[in-house]
Symmetry: C2
Subunit: 718 residues, 2 copies
Amino acid sequence: MFFRSALLSTVGLSLSAFLLLAQAPTEPQHVFGYRDFSAQAKIDQQFLAVPSAKLAGEELKTLTAAPHIAASKEDYDTAVYVAGKFKAAGLETSIVPYKAWLNLPKEISVTATDDATGKTLMHGPTREHVEGDPYQDDPRVTPGFNGSSPSGDVTAEVVYANYGRPEDFDRLAALHIDVKGKLVIVRYGANFRGVKVYVAQQRGAAGVIIYSDPADDGYYRGDKYPNGPYRPDTGVQRGSVQYMFKYPGDATTPGIASTPELPASKRIDPATAASMPRIPSTPLSYHDAAPILENLGGPSAPREWQGALPFNYHLGGTGVKVHMLLKQDYAMRTIWDVIGKIPGTELPDEWVVAGNHRDAWVYGAVDPNSGTAAMLESVHGIGELLHQGWKPKRTVIFASWDAEEEGLIGSTEWAEDHANQLAHAVAYFNTDVGVSGPSFESAAVPSLKQFVRDVTKEVPSPKGGSVYEQWKAEQAANGSRHHVNNGFNERHGHANVDNDVEIGDLGSGSDYTPFIQHLGVPSTDIGSDGPYGVYHSVFDNYAWFIKNADPTFVYEQQQARVFGLEVLHMADTDVLPYDYVTYGKEIEAYIEAAKKKAADAQLSSIDFSEATAAAQKFTSAAEAAYSRQTAESGNPTHLNSELRQVEGDLLSSAGLPNRPWFKHTIYAPGEYTGYAAVVIPGVNEAIDAKDVSRAQTQMATLTAALTRATSTLESAAK
Amino acid sequence: MFFRSALLSTVGLSLSAFLLLAQAPTEPQHVFGYRDFSAQAKIDQQFLAVPSAKLAGEELKTLTAAPHIAASKEDYDTAVYVAGKFKAAGLETSIVPYKAWLNLPKEISVTATDDATGKTLMHGPTREHVEGDPYQDDPRVTPGFNGSSPSGDVTAEVVYANYGRPEDFDRLAALHIDVKGKLVIVRYGANFRGVKVYVAQQRGAAGVIIYSDPADDGYYRGDKYPNGPYRPDTGVQRGSVQYMFKYPGDATTPGIASTPELPASKRIDPATAASMPRIPSTPLSYHDAAPILENLGGPSAPREWQGALPFNYHLGGTGVKVHMLLKQDYAMRTIWDVIGKIPGTELPDEWVVAGNHRDAWVYGAVDPNSGTAAMLESVHGIGELLHQGWKPKRTVIFASWDAEEEGLIGSTEWAEDHANQLAHAVAYFNTDVGVSGPSFESAAVPSLKQFVRDVTKEVPSPKGGSVYEQWKAEQAANGSRHHVNNGFNERHGHANVDNDVEIGDLGSGSDYTPFIQHLGVPSTDIGSDGPYGVYHSVFDNYAWFIKNADPTFVYEQQQARVFGLEVLHMADTDVLPYDYVTYGKEIEAYIEAAKKKAADAQLSSIDFSEATAAAQKFTSAAEAAYSRQTAESGNPTHLNSELRQVEGDLLSSAGLPNRPWFKHTIYAPGEYTGYAAVVIPGVNEAIDAKDVSRAQTQMATLTAALTRATSTLESAAK
């Protein structure tokens, strides 16, 4: 009780927070990674008492006072604010600039005319507006636009292509609807918006309009803002259409850091960059999309393509002509990561990195600053520990990334900048949409799933009991949802081999991508989710947040506690708490599923036997290592050093076919899903392409990676 | 070829009809019921050449020239027209009047006001209107109203109750939304509208508004009229809310005929009649319902209750007050059946009855006059046979029923009037929605499923091949849909024991009800279906029909041919073509399903063993009878006489609990579904009510019926 009452006076712990702690679960006795958890348990309690709901609310309000798109003055102001907080907590803090190729909208105009009458049906985009929102009229709000879209001036007939998936375009082709030279209108959802543009480009479209259908995050889901959390008529989802499934980060510097001093000769021409779309695209609200869709000619759309606008959807090709004029202001612009470091006392080369982006399309109350406020309170708590003399065994780094929205740029450039040091990093912990509601969810590499669960068992939930208990109860009642940071939170389907609360796979869509998929740093992503229909609109602001997401900031506090405990445990653990047994079983399940898919696709000549055997050996070796990890004693130095190497063994130096930046053999963002992970991507994407020979080559790459990792695990167990 | 070429000159067979016949399937050699089919095959070909697409179109146009609601002058005019056609074909024709308790709308008014502001949100009903419909402005069009609704003057808060099913009201109760004294607004679909009012009445509602949600038959399904077949904004579904699951027909004369001379003392008071709703109700278009639904307060509706109007649906209880004023003009009114008879030469007491109703809520181009026009062309074809000297072995009766829309009144009163003669009837063939599109569907007692299939094998389809082949191909491609005459054509789930094209169960909603469910006459219902969103609205008119249903009337011609062949075969067959083996297997499946349902409901004490054994014996006896039916020779008199008795054996004299008019032990309209059949209804509804003792009594009734029928089948097989 000493720590708690002592801290009550120190940091002004609120009564409600005290009551929460009073009903917190009893301290765990055995936690994976610790030989004796009792000392850590005391530090944890000391830490948990600090993060403040009230302060998180104030920090959120400050961070979101103005629109702060990457590379803007207001973005820099938030960098300075975050750096101040880091410094105040005792972190060695720096603002780290990079220079990246970014666009801002100079002129965005979409005009629809009726084919038959020549009448103007719509001239937009309409400025986002609802009754009574206090933030919407700031002159610094940009109109809706797509990051990485080229400029363009297209006048063409319009075709409706549902979600813009390959199968949607296949369906149009089967129905003899030609998209060549047309403007394609697609709805948000089902995949990453860059994938929609990528597929449309492959099929010969002249441009793409991406709109938010009310079926997907509008009134069909529930009340719209300001009466509820869902997208109002004029709400636009901005967003990057960068082909980040090719590579994320600055388009001109794949694999290297866009430092200010990087000579121009080291950069590639954006005109030839694989991550830059070649056709223009822009987002629209359903207020603006409706007059286009309602007047499309052509046959009725397939019934599953029908959205929630009040008319029958047609496929188009006739009926409406749209003039889309996009003037993008492209320039090499400076962005600012904020990095705060606490050097490790015993193992300074083993970095524990925890990050969240700071830039927002507009105000970003949920995305990303609910995560930033929580991170600042995590730092606040760790600062209190530092103040009382605690120091981490391993080096802790907190990062406030910039230009995530444009393509994970701040994190990618920093990760590429520190690739050598990150080869020794023990974990990357991400949070992006920290809080959009009360339902905790996570995605993680399988080796860290147990770690995330253990941490959540220590944190009290505002609903009573622990975060873990509430998480488990809600999943039992409602099923699990993938935490994907984009407001959709789609149900996920990863291999659940451990019969516990489900944790999703890491696809893409946030800053863990360079860490896990490029560098092999074991990663997690956490957040507390709820109905969130204002993603990337002007309405993702403080007024929306306190009405819908977390009026008393208790989930901000929870998020700060979980995020901070992840860092504390990983910084001080005796044995690295990587569960490679679960990882091995998941890989076995992935291979089994791919085998079934190949059989279904009549590609029975693909030989899975060596990969299957390699995965089984990996699991066996992991079991032996696990016994060592849970042993009561012994010097863990060799064990930890080997364990740290396993994830790196799963990288292939060549990377994936046509996208060498993605080096992980087990996880990648899907080339045709974008957000959602594709597992054993080399093999699965070859099967999807019905390319037996490539599948066999990729199988060999996978087998080699598993064999390397197995040998490291065997060494660890010695 | 003699008959066909001879008829070509006689009846002016069109070239397209000739081409159709030229590609017709080869004549069948063996047809169940015939010892030698060759003579019948020639008669069939002679018949099939007569029904004319062109004439059916003209007849449809004449029948639907004016609104002709039951008991109106225009209704009488159509009776005279049909009687003229019957007479011209050589039928002994009479117009048969009955007197029934019917309402017409004197004043229908619905006014919605905003609770908070007192502002009028809607004052309706709005007159039905679309651009360019030539029929909509006739002054004789009634406003939308519900047959059998009492008058009422209710002002109350409004609660949204989805489809108005018991489970919907249970859900409201679980969500603490009180419906007592409230106006309940429900959407059409999922059940018979009278059930919605019945459940609302049971739950204490003060009145009911029933509206057409665009999700169910409006723009969410496809283009709305005049651009397509679906319900336009102002389209209202009129309809009876009579509790015809209690008993159909005139509410004042359950079980007896409402002849004009029936003394008033033999009639019951409508105020106490079990089939009359006690609370007022009225239908609305979605144009008029939207302002009510959009302004409802209370919590959001469950997501599966969300329709396709462009806002989030709420449950209400607050937000909107509605004043519903209904002045119904009730009177004892005269209706007119038209009956045309062809006396049988050999078996005049064995009636073959074929019927279709003639009255319409407004114009009734699809419902019912697409069926009437087809029936007139069936009669036309049979008239040609009579003209050439053919006479039926059994007595043929064609019937044009009146006041079906108000509660199957014309058919029910006539059937009650002729109950003694109908005890010898061999079949009742119904058509109602004869043609709403190109997809043939049927419902029938199991004993006549093979009969319907056999008939359709002889009729050419406008798509090529036979009706049967197209039917089978479409079911294989799309699944089967229950032919329910109400525009919804919901997928049905009867026991499919014979692995052939699926034929639905007979529930209720059309004129076969008194024949099969009250009197035990084996019945079928046929129609050719398509997208049909204007059911019971002013837009179900000739203009809609030729745009959407059957522009060249070739499906009218097909329908005339199938309907006529049903009559011809049943009139002249050697052995009655009843397949009681299939019937027995279906009953076994029904009992098995009820047993499983009882087990799921933890009512394991219900003993199914005797009913199961009785059903198995029934099937065995049916197999022996079937051998006799397919034998090459022998006098079929005794066999036929016994076979005819089997369906009657399945009636119980007591009828169903609380609804003694329904006497069939295997099929009834569900008390809580209305249209859809409940199988072995006594047993299943007792299980639904968790009433073990009643279930056991009903099981005994079922077992006794099966035992009677088995003994008759055993006698038939001797």
